[in-house]
Symmetry: D2
Subunit: 147 residues, 4 copies
C-alpha cells in the first residue's frame, strides 16, 4: 500500500454498505478509530460466511486475525452509511491478506478512501487452533476478490 | 406494553434496517443484550436528526436518555440485518417515550418482535443540560410516529 | 425499585470497579446509555464465573438475559472508574433478578447511584436453550447477594 | 518493531490495567481484534488527560489518530484483566508514535506481549483540525515515556 495516497473506490472489486451507529462517534464528533476495525471485521466475515462457506458456529475451520492496520485519511461520522470495500491482496497457504477501503456511501469510482486498512486472517482448525491450508472452494472464493 | 406478548411489526409506523456486526455476537453466538440498545439509540437518533431537526454537533437543544428497558423474546444473530421499528408512545412537555421492536429483516407485518424495548428521551439545553419544551416542529415530527 | 430516588451505595452487598473506555463517551461527552448495560453484563458475568461456577466456554448450563432496564439519574464519564454494585432482588426456580447501581468510584456508602438498573438472567441448558433449575451451589452463591 | 517477536513487558515504562468486558469476547471465545484498539485508545488517552494536560471536552488542542496497527501473538479473554503497556517510540513536531503491548495482568517483566500495536496521534487545533506543534509541557510529558 502506498503510504500517502488514499486508495480509490475503483481499486476494490466489491463492498458492503454498513450503517454507522450513534456510539461510533466519539467526543470529537467523528467515528472512533477502533470502530473502523469493527466495520472491516464485519465486512470480511460476511464475505467469509456468504461466499467462502465459513460456519462461525460449528464449522471445523475458522479464520483468526493475526494482524491489522489502518491509516485514517479523513473523517467519517454517524449517521452516514459507510462502504467497506474489499480486495484480496495475497492468498498464502493458510492465510489471506485483505485490503479494505472505507468510503462515505454512496461512493463514486474515483472517490478517495477515508481510510485504508489491511487485515490478515489465518485459517485454523477450530479445536486445535493450528493453521490449516485453504480448502479449494475457499481459496477459489478468495481468489475472486483479488483486485 | 404487555409483559408477555411480543409486538407485531405492524404495530410500528416506521423502521430502520441496520446491519449487525461481527462483534455484536457474544460467546453464546447471539447478539449481546447490550448491543440491542446501541441499535435502538441509532434508530431513534437517526430519526431525531433527519426528521426532528436535531443537530448533534452544534444545535442548542439535544436529547438525553433518562430511561431504557428491553425484553428479549428470541435470539438475533450476526450476519442477519435487523429492522429497528419505532413508534412514539407518549409525548410529554419535554420528553418522549419511544417503543422499539427489533425484528429479523425483512419482517412481515405479522412477525413478532425478537425484542421489545422502550427508550425515554428528555430534550435539554445543550449548555445547561436543563429540560426544554419541544419546539413545535420537533413535536410535530414526533407526533407523526404515534402509532 | 423506587421510580424516583437513586439507590444508595450501601444498598448493595458487593461491587466491581470497572475502567471506563475512551469510546464509552459519546458526542455529548458522557458515557453512552448503552454502555451501562455492557458494564452491568460484565459485573454480573464476573460474579457468575467466579462465584457461581458458570463456565462460559464449555459448561452445560449458561445464563441468558431475558429482560434489562435502566434509569439514568446523573452523568458518568470517561476516564473515571465506575463501581458496578450488585444485589440479587429475587431468585426464581430458573431465573434471577439482579439490581445494579452504577457509581463514580470510589463511592461512599451514602452516595446516590448515577444509574439504577435491573437485569434478569434465566439459566438454560447450553444445547437446548431451555430453562433449567438452579443447582444448589449456584443458588447458594446467588443467595449471598440478596441485599 | 520486529515483525516476529513479541515485546517483553520490561520494554515499556508504564501500563494501565484495564478490565475486560463480557462483550469483548467474540463467538470464538477470545477478545475480538477490534477491542484491542479500544483498550489502547483508552490507555493513551488516559495518559494524555492525566499527564499531558489534554482537556477532551473544551481544550484548544486535541489529539487525533492518523494510523494504527496491531499484531496478535496469542489470545486474551474475558474476564481476565489486561495490562496495556505504553512507550513512546518517536515524538515529531506535531505527532507522537506510541507502541503498546497488551499483556494478561499481572505481567512479569519478561512476559511476552499477547499483542504488539502502534498508534500515531497528531495534535490539532480543536476548531480548524489543523496540526499544531506540541506545547513544551506536553512534549515533556511524552518524552518521559520514551523507552
Amino acid at each position: 500500500m502506498s503510504r500517502d495516497l488514499p486508495s480509490l473506490r475503483s481499486r476494490f472489486p466489491a463492498a458492503y454498505v454498513l450503517a454507522t451507529r450513534w456510539a461510533d462517534n466519539d467526543v470529537y464528533g467523528h467515528i472512533n478509530n477502533a470502530a473502523y476495525y469493527g466495520l472491516i471485521d464485519t465486512a470480511v466475515n460476511r464475505f467469509m460466511i456468504a461466499r467462502a462457506g465459513i460456519d462461525i458456529h460449528a464449522g471445523p475451520l475458522i479464520a483468526l486475525v493475526v494482524e491489522t492496520g489502518c491509516r485514517y485519511h479523513s473523517a467519517l461520522e454517524f449517521p452516514q452509511d459507510i462502504e467497506v470495500a474489499l480486495r484480496v491482496e495475497r492468498i498464502g497457504r493458510t492465510s489471506v491478506t485483505w485490503n479494505a477501503g472505507l468510503f462515505a456511501a454512496p461512493a463514486a469510482p474515483d472517490d478517495p478512501a477515508a481510510a485504508d486498512a489491511h487485515f490478515i486472517h489465518v485459517l485454523v482448525d477450530r479445536n486445535t487452533r493450528r493453521p490449516a491450508p485453504w480448502p479449494d472452494a475457499m481459496r477459489d472464493a478468495l481468489a475472486e476478490m483479488i483486485g
